[in-house]
C-alpha cells in the first residue's frame, strides 16, 4: 500500500508522556526532587536511564512502550513522539548484583561501598543509599561484622534462592492474570487466554524466568535456569523470524535497552525491545557528541555482549 516514506528524525523533541508511580513524584518532602540518572544496565553492560529520588532514596525503572507510527495529541498540541514512558519502583539489588559478582571473584569479604562503585557511572554509589539496599543485601551476599563494620561477599547460592522466589512470584502473577505464555518459549505473543489448561506449568515458569532474566547477566540467567531445574533450550526446533528470537536460545541476543520499541508480539517476554532504525541512527548521532533531546530517552551506547 504505502510506499516507504523517509522519516525525518525527530530532533526537536522536548516533551514526554510519562506514567509515574506516585511515590516517584510526591511533593511532600523537601529537597527530594527525583532525577533521571544513567546507570549500568546489568544485561547490556551499557548505560540505561533510571530514576533516583533522594531523601528516602528510591530507585525507579524507566521503560518506554512504543509502537511504530504513533503520536500524541496533548491538549491542543501535537507531540510527535508517540512513546508512553513508565516510571516504576525497581529493586536496586538487580543493579548492584553485577558489581558484587565481579568483586566476589576475589573471594574475600569487602566493604560494599568499595564494591558498588563505577567510574563510568558516578550515580551508581547512590544505589547503596537506597532504603532497600542495605537491608536486602543478605539476599545476594554473605555478611560479616568486624568491629562494627560490615563486610560482604557475593553468594551464588543465596542469589539463586532469592531469584527463585522472584520467578515463583512472577509465575503466580502470570497465571492469575491469564497471560498467554504460548507454547514453550516459542510464542512471544502477549495475549490473554480464556483457558490456561492449554499450557504446561513449565511454560509459565519458563516465561517468568524470561522476565526476571531481563535484569540478569547471561551467566546468571543460565544459572537460574539450572537452579529452577528447567532444561536449557539449546536451539529452537523451527527457525523463528528474527523478531521472535528468544534469549533462551543459544543465539547471541542483541543488547536490550529500556527506551526502545515495544509491540504486542514481544511485550511480556521482552518489554525492552530492539531499537528501531530511526533510534539506531539517533544513537549514532548521539555518539558523535551532537546530543539531541530526542535521543534523551534512547540508549546512549549500544554495547555488544562480551
Amino acid at each position: 500500500m504505502a510506499t516507504k516514506k523517509k522519516r525525518i528524525p525527530n530532533m526537536q523533541n522536548d516533551s514526554w508522556v510519562v506514567i509515574a508511580a506516585d511515590s516517584a513524584i510526591e511533593t511532600q518532602k523537601q529537597d527530594s526532587d527525583p532525577a533521571f540518572v544513567r546507570l549500568r544496565n546489568p544485561v547490556t553492560d551499557a548505560a540505561s536511564l533510571y530514576m533516583l529520588r533522594s531523601g528516602d532514596v528510591q530507585l525507579f525503572e524507566v521503560k518506554a512502550f512504543e509502537e511504530d507510527f504513533h503520536s500524541w495529541f496533548v491538549g491542543q498540541t501535537v507531540q510527535r513522539d508517540g512513546r508512553l514512558l513508565f516510571v516504576t519502583p525497581m529493586d536496586p539489588l538487580y543493579l548492584m548484583l553485577p558489581y558484587l559478582v565481579k568483586a566476589g571473584k576475589e573471594g574475600k569479604f569487602q566493604p560494599v561501598d568499595q564494591v558498588v562503585m563505577d567510574e563510568d557511572f558516578p550515580a551508581c554509589s547512590r544505589l547503596l543509599s537506597c532504603t532497600r539496599s542495605l537491608s536486602s543485601l543478605h539476599h545476594i551476599a554473605e555478611e560479616k561484622e568486624v568491629g562494627g563494620l560490615k563486610f560482604h561477599r557475593y553468594s551464588q547460592e543465596k542469589t539463586m534462592n532469592w531469584l527463585k522466589k522472584k520467578v515463583e512470584r512472577m509465575d503466580t502473577v502470570l497465571k492469575a492474570r491469564n497471560i498467554s505464555v504460548g507454547e514453550g518459549v516459542k510464542s512471544t505473543t502477549y495475549i490473554r487466554v480464556k483457558s490456561e489448561s492449554d499450557y504446561h506449568p513449565e511454560d509459565y515458569l519458563r516465561y517468568a524466568h524470561g522476565m526476571i532474566s531481563e535484569y540478569l547477566s547471561e551467566d546468571l540467567s543460565k544459572a537460574l535456569l539450572k537452579h529452577l531445574q528447567l532444561p536449557e533450550l539449546t536451539s529452537p526446533k523451527e527457525p523463528e523470524p528474527p523478531s521472535k528470537k528468544r534469549k533462551l536460545s543459544e543465539l547471541p541476543v542483541e543488547a536490550e535497552e529500556d527506551y526502545t520499541k515495544f509491540n504486542s508480539a514481544d511485550f511480556a517476554r521482552k518489554p525492552p525491545k530492539k531499537m528501531t532504525s530511526a533510534q539506531k541512527s539517533l544513537a549514532k548521532v548521539d555518539k558523535t557528541g551532537m546530543k539531541s533531546m530526542s535521543s534523551f530517552f534512547s540508549p546512549k551506547v549500544k554495547a555488544e555482549k562480551k
Partner: protein
C-alpha cells in the same frame, strides 16, 4: 569525565501548577511538534458509542477507548524549557500537565484488551512482581 554524570532533574513542585489535559494516542505518526486545533477538529466530532468511541481523522475512521492510569500512578507530560548548552550540564524538566486517563485510537479495528497500550497498563503490576521485596 563522561556525560553519564549529568542528571536530569524533575521539578516535581511544578505539579501544583500543571494543567489537567486530554491525551489522545493516535495510530499514525505526525511529523510535527507544536500547536494544533485538537478540540475544534477532533474532540468536537467524537461519537460516543457503548463500547467504543469513533471519530473521523483525515478521512480515516478511528475507533477508540478511554484508558485510566493504573492505581497509584499519575500521568505526566514532562517538558524541558531551558536546554543546557552542553551535555555535561544537568538538565531540568518540569511537569507541564497531568492526566489520569487517555484515549487511544485504533485505525479501523475496534479497541480490545490485546491492544498494546492496554497491556502496557499492566506493566506496573508485573513490575511489582519483579521488583517487590522478597521475604526471607
Amino acid at each position: 569525565m563522561s556525560c553519564n554524570s549529568s542528571v536530569t532533574w524533575v521539578n516535581v513542585s511544578s505539579v501544583g501548577q500543571a494543567q489537567r489535559v486530554q491525551l489522545h494516542l493516535l495510530p499514525c505518526e505526525i511529523e510535527h511538534n507544536g500547536p494544533a486545533q485538537v478540540s475544534q477538529y477532533l474532540t468536537a466530532t467524537i461519537k460516543d458509542c457503548k463500547l467504543e468511541k469513533t471519530v473521523s481523522f483525515r478521512g480515516r475512521g478511528l475507533k477508540g477507548q478511554e484508558l485510566i492510569c493504573p492505581q497509584g500512578y499519575t500521568g505526566l507530560v514532562l517538558k524541558e524549557t531551558n536546554k543546557p548548552g552542553s551535555d555535561q550540564e544537568d538538565r531540568t524538566v518540569k511537569v507541564a500537565s497531568v492526566f489520569d486517563k487517555l484515549i487511544y485510537w485504533n485505525l479501523e479495528t475496534p479497541p480490545n484488551s490485546d491492544d498494546t497500550v492496554v497491556m502496557a497498563m499492566d506493566w506496573p503490576d508485573l513490575a511489582e512482581a519483579i521488583h517487590g521485596p522478597v521475604e526471607d
